[in-house]
């Protein structure tokens, strides 16, 4: 338990730093802003009580908000995605399968992990980009931004599973 707290503590700090120092400054053709701090919420053990997941999601969202002067936007999107996490997991998991408690890439089938990450990142990014713009005018433009940013975020998150966060 103590080990877990330390591990997730480091993950929290590491993801925040990568997000605000590097990824927030990435911009390809004005479209792509990857947000990978959601990985923290994704990798919480499946047995974590739901209210803890929600509170932690709010905390990491608010921290990113404070760093990027966008109070409320990231916390809204992250809590939203965190609330739907159990439903997404139920949707893509076969009942017969023996489920590992840790939703990482190594502990699960590649296909399962990709579906899990893709659905969660899409939920998070759609909410995030539309809340940020706060209008459905330019619906297509925002949708393109969401789509390409999601692709990039999913790619970075999957890649990270081969480099860090392996267990």
């Amino acid at each position: 338990m103590g080990n877990q707290v330390i591990k997730y503590g480091f993950m929290f700090i590491g993801l925040i730093l990568i997000q605000v120092l590097i990824l927030n400054h990435i911009q390809f053709s004005g479209y792509v802003n990857p947000y990978i701090y959601l990985l923290f919420v994704l990798l919480l053990p499946l047995s974590t009580p739901r209210y803890v997941v929600l509170l932690l999601a709010f905390l990491i969202g608010l921290t990113v908000d404070i760093f990027s002067n966008s109070l409320g936007i990231h916390s809204f999107a992250t809590v939203f995605a965190a609330f739907f996490r159990p439903y997404v997991i139920r949707l893509i998991t076969n009942r017969e399968e023996d489920k590992s408690d840790y939703p990482g890439l190594k502990q699960n089938k590649f296909q399962w992990f990709i579906s899990y990450v893709s659905i969660m990142v899409l939920i998070h990014h759609i909410v995030l980009f539309y809340i940020e713009i706060f209008t459905f005018a330019n619906f297509l433009l925002t949708f393109t931004r969401t789509f390409f940013s999601s692709l990039f975020s999913i790619f970075v998150i999957v890649l990270s599973q081969y480099i860090v966060f392996r267990d």
């Binding site: 730093l17 605000v20 120092l21 927030n24 400054h25 911009q27 004005g30 802003n33 739901r50 209210y51 929600l54 509170l55 999601a57 709010f58 969202g61 908000d65 404070i66 760093f67 990027s68 002067n69 966008s70 109070l71 409320g72 936007i73 916390s75 809204f76 809590v79 939203f80 609330f83 809340i131 940020e132 713009i133």
Partner: protein, 280 residues
């Protein structure tokens, strides 16, 4: 009553979800109230020191660029000194330089965090209250206008950059003096819109737009940008003008905050007028 309590317990997660989302929405909608709260933006000590230490490492990679911009600025000032214009007005300029209590005081600062890809972009400066930086001071670079300070802590400050939908400077045409607001539409970090210029004004592509000096944030005549294109939309009485911003927001590193030493006096006078109007 008991069933209500049972309902609350059963749906505890859902209620917590709603609560957290409502808190976030309150933050989003009341942004103006909270952006002055120092610990909720990047001028707070923890956030700013993270940016500052990261910047102190990566700034070495930018030194060549910074050097070049300083050399350019130097060259510009040197050619200004040698121009005939200056020779004719030497006396008045010297007199102005000698005035110790000039209206505007410049506080040099380095940018430690900056973005161009959000719909509201901010800059974090490494100077704060102890260096004399206060909210509502303008931020300029040698190339032109950059933004305005909104929140300060002891040693750091955060401000809107021009690339922000929540704030835009007031500009005017340098040659004819017609003025209007400059607004950023959130798409291209090099472009902005210049509004409220009536059709009878003569425009050419490349005309310079400078600060009007009608707000207390900026002195008159700081470059904002140049006209990139303009058109006369039918059924309207104002031009649609796109301007190319003078500052390249992706490559600015050193700026100055401008303190208007007479701001208090101007504000007092304006308040006096407003009070008088409302009581009549």
């Amino acid at each position: 009553m008991r069933s209500l309590i049972r309902y609350l317990i059963n749906n505890f997660t859902f209620l917590l979800f709603i609560l957290l989302e409502v808190v976030s929405l309150v933050f989003i909608f009341n942004y103006n109230k909270y952006h002055k709260v120092q610990f909720l933006n990047s001028s707070n000590w923890v956030t700013a020191s993270v940016y500052n230490s990261f910047q102190s490492v990566v700034q070495y990679f930018e030194l060549a660029k910074v050097n070049k911009s300083l050399a350019d600025e130097n060259a510009r000032l040197k050619s200004f000194i040698q121009s005939d214009l200056l020779l004719q007005h030497t006396d008045s300029i010297l007199a102005e330089l000698n005035q110790e209590d000039s209206t505007y005081r410049y506080i040099p600062a380095a940018i430690i965090n900056n973005s161009v890809n959000k719909s509201n972009n901010y800059i974090t400066l490494n100077k704060g209250r102890k260096d004399g930086v206060k909210p509502d001071q303008g931020i300029v670079s040698p190339m032109g206008i950059v933004g305005v300070v909104t929140s300060v802590s002891e040693s750091y400050a955060v401000g809107f950059s021009v690339l922000n939908k929540r704030w835009g400077p007031s500009g005017k045409l340098k040659n004819s003096g017609y003025f209007g607001p400059v607004e950023w539409d959130g798409s291209d970090y090099q472009m902005a819109d210049f509004k409220e210029i009536p059709f009878h004004v003569q425009l050419t592509v490349g005309d310079t737009i400078v600060t009007s000096g009608y707000s207390t944030f900026f002195p008159e005549g700081i470059t904002i940008g140049t006209i990139y294109s303009f058109s006369q939309p039918e059924g309207e009485s104002f031009y649609k003008i796109r301007i190319k911003l003078a500052v390249d927001f992706k490559s600015i590193h050193y700026v100055s905050a401008i303190e208007n030493t007479e701001k208090e006096e101007i504000k007092e006078l304006e308040n006096l007028l407003e009070d008088g109007e409302s009581s009549n």
